[in-house]
Every structure is written in C-alpha cells, then in structure tokens.
Amino acid sequence: MMTRPWFLVLLLMAWGCPDSRGTGERLVVTGSSTVAPLMAEIGKRFESERPGVRVDVQTGGSSRGIADVRGGLADVGMASRALKAGEEDLHAFPIARDGICLFVHRDNPVGELTDDQVVAIYTGRARDWSTVGGGTGGAGAAITVVNKAEGRATLEVFLAHFGLASRDVRATVVVGDNEQAVKTVVADPHAIGYVSIGTAEHSASRGVPIRLLPAGGVEASSERLADGSFPIARPLTLVTREEPAGLVRELIDYARSPAVHDLVRELFFVPVR
C-alpha cells in the first residue's frame, strides 16, 4: 500500500514534463512576445502551404526562447534581440527589424526628449514634466516612469542604448509585456514608457491615445526604421541549437523570404533584405 502514492507522484511528475519535441511533422517555436505574433502568422501561412505540418508558437520571452532551444524543448527559439555574449553556441537568423521608441499619452504636450533628458527621467534626476517641457498639468505634474520587468529583451535594448544599468533606473511602475505598457500609459497622462515601435504604431493606428516620441531627431515610425535612420533598433531573430536542417530549415528560410514581407509590414516591423 505504501508504494502506490509514490508511484502516482512519479507518474504525475512524468506527466508534468511533456516531450514537446515534435514527433513527425510538428515544429515547436517558443520565445519573445514581440516576435510571437509575427511568427504565428508566418506559421499559419507555412502550414497552409505545407499540409500536414503543424507550427506551434508559444510566447514567454526571449530568454525562454534561448533556454528552450538549448534544452531541446523547442525546435526554434524567438529572440527580440541579437545573440549576447555567451550565446555563440547557437545559430541565429534575423527575420525582421524592430525599433524601440518612447511614448506618452496623446494629451501630453512634450516635444522631443534628448537622450540626456531620457536618462534624467529614468534615473530620477528629472521628476517633473515642467523640467523637460511637457505634462498636461504644467508645473507640479510628476512623471510616472514606466519601466519593464527584469530580464525583458525590450528593457535590455533600451538600457544598452541609453548606457544605463538596470539598478540605476528609478521607475514608478514596472510592467510586463508591451500591451501592459500601452495600457498603463493610456490610463495616466503623466506617464512615459517605451515599447516596440511595431506595438506602438499598431496601437496608435487603432485609435489608442498614445503619441510616439522621436529619438535623436528621427521620427519613430516603421519607415524611418526601414531606411535605417531610427537609432534604437534591434533584430528579431530565430534561434536554433544545431545548424538547421529539414523542416526547420524550410521554416526559417520561409520566414526570411519575400513571401512573408507583407506579414512583417502588417505588424509594423521591417523585413530583412
């Protein structure tokens, strides 16, 4: 009698660790929440052209994409950044380019912020919109600094561009994904945040009351990103553990081919050439 519960425990644990490595014609793609919507669309189109193939796209962040590929849980990982030092063992394939832009509520009159002003805001040296020329209430309107949670690729790219370390940031609110950042800024006219240009343009085009701020004198838009003039850019990357072959190779080649450029543009990213 004593052995039975333990047997069940073991059974449950075995059940809890699914073997999601594709059996036959199933590809598992996991990683960045920025890349996932694009990869899901690409996957659908790939499936429709290759009957019998299933592309399973799961989100969870760039780090998860890297970890899953390393651990063999996913066939392809998604990362919204280039590979870092210590990740040279993996193979990376850029499929699109994305930018990160600062954004505020539509009613916030602030114009352009210099890099120094952005650093001042995010390190807590500038606490009031009147010191950087914006805010709806004029003087006395405290800046709500929206930052991303530790480990997010967007945060890493943002910090690297402005030469900040994570511990220097004095945030008011910490958010998770891009969508939550947008919602937080929409709910607070004194807030400033940063998201993927793709997300920001997509939201703004649907009438969400946000305004994208230029960076280094360059307007934040997918056109400026495409001509290479927007300064805060990052590659959206597919990652594999081994040199891809077979179906994985086909999916990666497809994701980089002109056949999906319309999908890339639809999500306000820039296709690779």
Partner: protein
C-alpha cells in the same frame, strides 16, 4: 438489488474515492516537491539569508532581495482581508435578516456574479478607474491601496457567501428560542447567530485570505510592481505572485531559481495559514 451487487458497487465507490483522494493529495505533494527541487540550487548556493539582506532585487546582476515582495504580499492580503471581512459579514447579515426575500435572492445572485468575474477584468477596471482615482488623491496612483481595494472586492464574495451559508445553517430552534425570550434582533445576531456560525465564517475568512495571497493578474495591473518596501498605502508594491508572473518567462539560471523560491515562500505562507486556522478552530469551536 441483490446483496452481492450492492457490495460490488460499494467496493467500486470506495476504490474510486480512495483513488481520487490519493490523486488530489499527490498533486499537492508533487507541486511542493517540484518547487523545492527548482529552488534548491538557489537555496543551496546562495543561502536563505541573502533573500533578506541583499541590497536590491536585480536577479540578473546577482542581487536577490525578496523581503520587500514578502511585505508587499502580506500587506496587500492583510489590507484586503481587513476591508472585505466586515463588509462580507454585514452583507450576509443583511441578506439573512434585514432584506425582503425577493431582494435577498437578487442580492445573492449579484454577489455570486461578482465571484465569477475573471480577475483580469477586475485588473483592467482597476487600472482604468481605480488607479486614476487614487492618483487624484496622491500620485502616482498604482499603489498598495489600489491592490488592497481590488483584492477586497475580489475576495468579498467568498466571505459573503460562506458567511451567508454559515448563518443559514444555524438551527432554527436557536432562533425560535431567542425569539421566545423576546430578544431584540441585534441581540439575537450578536449573542446567538454569529457565535453559532463562527466556524463557517472563519472558514470563509481563511478561504478569502488564501485567495488574496494567490491572486496575480489584477494585482499585477494595479500595484505598480516596484520592488520596494512600502512606507505608505500610496507607494507602489510588488507581490510575490506578480514577481513570478512578470519575470518567469524571461528568467534563466539563478534568476529562474529565485522565482521558484518566491513560489515556495507563497506555498509556505498558505501552509502556515491553514495550520493556524486549524489550530484556531480547534481551540475555539470544539474546545
């Protein structure tokens, strides 16, 4: 039905129940085991002390201060329970003793509806309505207070419905006896009904506390998620659950392990709560 057939169904029932009970218990054990296994690297290498003494929570830079989030969880839960318990109790008393029958029935349905609203909806409502309202009182808005209020609304139905059921289960004879003594309605409530229903009410309070401890999505949306021990109710806080939800997808190595320690801490909190409840109810109700 023949005796043997009867016995056969009995045996089947007992076996099924036993199996289900074992599975339910095994799930808890498996989860606890899994949490302990995943957090072990961290606990063994880094030690428990550093979760309380490190300078800050920057897990990618080897700083693992969990303490502010423990406080965040405890304060948010405590505040929510403090707000929701009297409200829930009053709501149950109103429903059973003061409201006309038709109104009581409608009111109960409404409370049940409140219990069924998904937490992300509460969170969104909190972000769009509650947080701007608090910002007008005292910026920045996303705060411990917002978390407390949202949690209080979310757990209110739990305590209201269990208290309602507990009051309904008070034997009629008690009420009749009290009425025969000519006691006023308030005296009956205070002296007879509430003491008799105490066990059920306490269960409701514990249920709502565990629910408040474990709530993630709504809290994540309204609390601001800043890792800092709050010094006032208007300060942003991060709870242990929000910490896991925010960072789990992005965490690798020690960072991931540290998040499992958050989970293990939560489990320990709930276990302590259940144990305390057991102890309290034994001392008071059956003593």
């Amino acid at each position: 039905m023949s005796r043997s057939a009867e016995r056969w169904t009995d045996v089947l029932l007992v076996r099924t129940l036993r199996g289900v009970a074992v599975v339910a218990a095994a799930v808890v054990v498996a989860i606890a085991f899994f949490l302990a296994r995943e957090s072990w690297p961290m606990l063994a290498e880094v030690g428990v002390g550093r979760f309380f003494t490190d300078a800050s929570w920057h897990p990618t830079e080897d700083e693992f201060l969990l303490l502010p989030m423990l406080w965040g969880t405890l304060w948010a839960t405590f505040g929510a329970v403090l707000v929701a318990t009297p409200l829930g109790l009053l709501s149950a008393v109103f429903c059973r003793f003061y409201a006309p029958l038709a109104m009581a029935r409608t009111y109960r349905r409404l409370i049940e509806l409140l219990a069924g609203i998904p937490s992300v909806v509460y969170g969104f409502w909190g972000l769009v309505v509650l947080v701007p309202w608090i910002r007008r009182l005292e910026p920045p808005g996303p705060s411990l207070l917002a978390g407390v209020l949202i949690l209080a609304i979310m757990v209110l139905p739990t305590v209201a419905l269990t208290a309602d059921a507990a009051i309904a289960a008070v034997p009629r004879s008690y009420l009749q006896a009290a009425a025969a003594l000519g006691l006023s309605r308030w005296t009956v409530l205070r002296g007879v009904v509430l003491p008799a229903a105490r066990d059920g009410i306490l269960t409701g309070v514990i249920l709502q506390t565990t629910r408040a401890l474990g709530e993630t999505m709504a809290v994540l949306m309204v609390c601001g998620n800043l890792v800092r021990t709050p010094s006032s109710v208007f300060d942003p806080v991060r709870t242990l659950t929000a910490n896991i939800a925010l960072e789990m997808g992005y965490a690798v190595g020690d960072h991931r392990s540290a998040l499992f320690v958050s989970g293990l801490t939560l489990l320990a909190l709930v276990a302590a709560l259940v144990a305390a409840a057991e102890w309290v109810s034994r001392g008071r109700v059956h003593g």
